[in-house]
Amino acid sequence: MISPIELSTFSVVAFIIPILFVILIGNNRRLLICISFSVSALACLINVVSGIMAVAFGKTEHVILPIGLPSLPFHLRLDPLSGFFLFVIGLLSFFVSIYSIGYVSGLAGDKPIKRLIVFYNIFIAAMIMVCLADDALIFLVAWEVMAAASYFLVMFEDGRSENRRAAYLYMVMAHIGAVLILLSFGVMAGFSTGFEGYTFDAMREANLPLKWATVAFLLSFFGFSAKAGVIPMHVWLPEAHPVAPSNVSALMSGVMLKTAIYGIIRITFDIIKVFPWWWGAMALAFGLVSAVMGVLFALMQHDLKKLLAYHSVENIGIILIGIGLSMIFTSFHLPIMAALALIAGLYHTMNHAMFKGLLFMGAGAVINATHERNMDEMGGLIHLMPWTSSFFLVGCISISALPPFNGFVSEWLTFQAFLLSPSMPIPLMKLLIPLGAALLALTGALAAACFVKVYGVIFLGNWRGHNHPVVTEAAWSMRIGMMLTALTCLCLGILPTIIIDLMDSISERLVHAKLSSSSGIYGWMWLTPIDPERASYSGPLVFIGIIAVCAITYFMLHVKPGKVTRVPVWDCGFQKLTPKMQYTAVSFAMPFRRIFGFLFDIKEQVWMSPQQGHCAFPVKTNYYLRVRDRFWGWIYRPIIDIVVLMSRKAGMLQHGRIHMYLIYSFVTIIFLLALL
């Protein structure tokens, strides 16, 4: 019986095979794509298996690789937490790899496919290594390799300047984050001697004084949130995701951001373990801000993938809310509640991976078909791409947190965790935290609004664009990939109980409490966290109920065949109804712009071109709208200016006059002698 960790380690090696294919059969494009992506899919599947095993058995296994520094070989470790993330990563990557077969073949011939395949596999392998790492060095190596690989993937079409800019911004942010994480490891390793200090085990042993623990936590928290795209470290995200190939953005947004969540959980719950409540409060605050701001930014977008990217910011926020609550509860020694909040966060992690992956895949299909990223140029695709549209709809419903799909379950759990806040000893928190719940509700509703906009504008109505491309349904492999993901979304929504019972082993290790021990008297049909008296939700019943009633009403109304007459749209007698008159993404978001506009840097202009005849009928009306993220101007611009100034100052040292150079060394001597 081969152990899970061996499986995963093997799978990491397996990711090299596609790279070999690139070298071997690089010239045969179709064959290369088919084979290499199916191999990657298999390798991902291995991780799904090993992940499930790790979570189900609840065992912890170590492996020490013979490579690394002489006195610091690479330590690998697979415990339920990393198992869970392996499962998520593996599952989505599996779906995406299937999807990629069709997607990549659909790309234009001049694109550097080989580069895509090579870095795609390195990317996934690195993410898996991040979850397996058990010492600071390999963790950071895997972390940075992941960043570098995704950097090259974002730079896939390096001819376009926006790709280059986005990739550059992303890489720099990622590197800053990585260095911060490195420093936090340095702090934690500092309390044990020699090279052994770098292993996570040693860090677990070392009980840091609170001051240093705080330093370590803050460093790692901001380091990881730079990768997770927590506001205000989110600027790279809406730049990088849109320009990357869609299968890559699906992975980046779906699972790469989650590795940051993994890091935060690993460091706080597993390594530091004991912390004051305000850490959690901070995480919660950042989560709430990210959630609300993220969804608002998303509402303002009309670039499909940019919009989805901002939704990743929102969902990362929601996940952080769960984790923050869990941290607070842990610090007050309320294990069962901590478990609930943690599970809520983790469950949303998995859900977001699924539906965001699905949405990006759908976006990829749409963009491949229409060669268009601006939603206001699309419309009516539901008639041309029935499969894609229905899968995309599933994604929209899930991300809008509507029952009976999966997004709702995790948000419901989070609400339950919020409701437990009164059991906290600190009065102020009791008051403040429910307000957070209100913000979460706002987020959910806004997300729903946003996806009504997305789906309505892209798939419903009529085609708005100037050019009329021939739109065809996505390739079969893309459809399969999306269908599997959609099914997963539905299952996660309807049968959460089974998965959550499995996840007990995680919460038991991290916060020493189980959820299932509290629930479970109703069995798999009812999700009853803490106590069936408190709250209960039965996904299956709701789902079946709604479907059943629909069916019944349908049949009752169709006992005699109801006649349906198809007619053109009723134009109120106004003869010239054109697609241009439809609501667009911009116009849909207008009320929200009016209400929440103060949060953005909005520039809106309307001007009428020279009129003739009656002033009420201008020949042409131009509308210009630009919505900008304020954070760029607030935080990043100043920093960039400072850096430029500094570099100019540094350049002044090198002015070419040899006398001054000699004076430098002269002064240096005098200075040092004066120091004596």
């Binding site: 419309g379 009516g380 539901i382 419903i397 947190a401 509507l402 029952p403 419901w412 609400f415 339950q416 919020f418 409701l419 009065p427 008051l431 209100a438 913000l439 509700a441 706002l442 509703a445 806004l446 729903a448 906009k453 309505g456 419903l460 109505g461 009812w526 009853t528 069936p532 008296e533 408190r534 709250a535 939700y537 039965s538 019943l541 709701v542 109920g545 709604i546 009633v549 629909c550 009403t553 349908y554 109304l557 109801g562 006649k563 349906v564 007459t565 198809r566 007619v567 053109p568 749209v569 009723w570 008159m581 439809q582 609501y583 116009s587 849909f588 978001a589 009320p591 929200f592 209400i595």
Partner: protein, 315 residues
């Protein structure tokens, strides 16, 4: 036997809701007419409307997709689904645990989501306008509604309606400031959710003001009937939800026939009262401009938050 009994009560309640909803709406309309000094069409008018729509044929735009056709059924069925969960005549409904308040809100949100999609499906300006406005209003009502519900469920120590009702009814009757504020907030939210004046005017087709009507403008025949009916059920359910949360006394705890009858009777009384209160508000206020709604719903949110704060400070 027991199971049969439960199923009987369940079905009974659902049927009551389905068939009482138009009557309730009719009652509200009637009151409104009286208060505005018009002669009303009577309580049964809504039944006539629905019946009329059912017999009519469906006329549909050429580019209507399956979403357009599916939505009416979904709207209706979500109503029915919720009807089986809220304790209206009795507190031992075996389906009740399958959804707590938050889930109820979620289910209604699903229905709204699909209506909005359907309204965008045809691709007319009206549809888009309606959808955009509806979603905006919803996004503002949701936090207020949730806060109100939070207050209630903190008091009741649960989010599942059964236990809230039990907790209230079992305890001695006390007037709690938190609950009071929460109920006011809830009333405002119900007005917004059900699309009544001053948020929306169900009886107008003036494009500047209409929200819900704009969304369903393209519907006709049985589809329109289902949607209208679903809307009525939703309205009715929101009122009963409010009743269950804020004055649950009298809802049958035991499932003998007598108590059920009593509770039905009490429910009718409560509904009549609630309806008249709503009418008072409606006739008292004028339809608001769209961007005034933020203030209206902001007030609701403030109320509910106050309720919450009072819960922590005073209790």
């Amino acid at each position: 036997m027991k199971l049969l009994h439960l199923i009987f009560i369940e079905i009974l309640q659902v049927l009551i809701v389905i068939f009482a909803a138009p009557a309730f709406v009719g009652w509200v309309d009637m009151l409104k007419c009286w208060s505005q000094g018009r002669t009303s069409a009577g309580v049964m008018q809504q039944y006539r409307n629905i019946a009329k729509l059912f017999v009519k044929d469906v006329v549909m735009a050429n580019n209507a997709s399956w979403i357009f056709r599916f939505t009416p059924y979904l709207v209706f069925s979500t109503g029915v689904m919720v009807a089986s969960v809220i304790p209206i005549i009795s507190t031992n409904l075996f389906l009740a645990p399958s959804a707590d308040i938050i889930v109820l809100i979620g289910i209604f949100a699903t229905a709204r989501f699909f209506i909005a999609l359907a309204s965008l499906d045809i691709g007319t300006a009206f549809g888009g306008m309606g959808a955009s406005r509806e979603m905006m209003i919803a996004s503002l009502t949701e936090p207020a509604m949730l806060m109100a519900i939070f207050t209630v469920s903190l008091t009741g120590g649960s989010t599942s309606l059964l236990h809230i009702v039990r907790a209230f009814t079992s305890g001695v009757v006390v007037v709690r400031p938190s609950i009071m504020f929460a109920s006011i907030a809830f009333a405002l939210v119900v007005i917004a959710e059900a699309g009544r004046v001053p948020v929306d005017n169900p009886s107008t087709h003036l494009e500047l003001t209409m929200v819900h009507e704009a969304m369903i403008l393209e519907y006709s025949g049985r589809h329109l009937a289902l949607i209208e009916w679903g809307a009525m059920i939703k309205f009715f359910l929101f009122v009963t939800l409010g009743i269950a949360c804020f004055l649950p006394w009298g809802i049958a705890a035991t499932d003998d026939l007598v108590s059920i009858v009593i509770s039905v009777f009490l429910m009718v009384v409560k509904l009549i009262v609630a309806g008249s209160v709503l009418v008072l508000i409606e006739t008292g206020m004028a339809k608001m401009r769209l961007f005034r709604l933020t203030e209206f719903l902001g007030a609701a949110f403030l109320m509910s938050t106050l309720g919450l704060i009072f819960f922590f400070i005073l209790e």
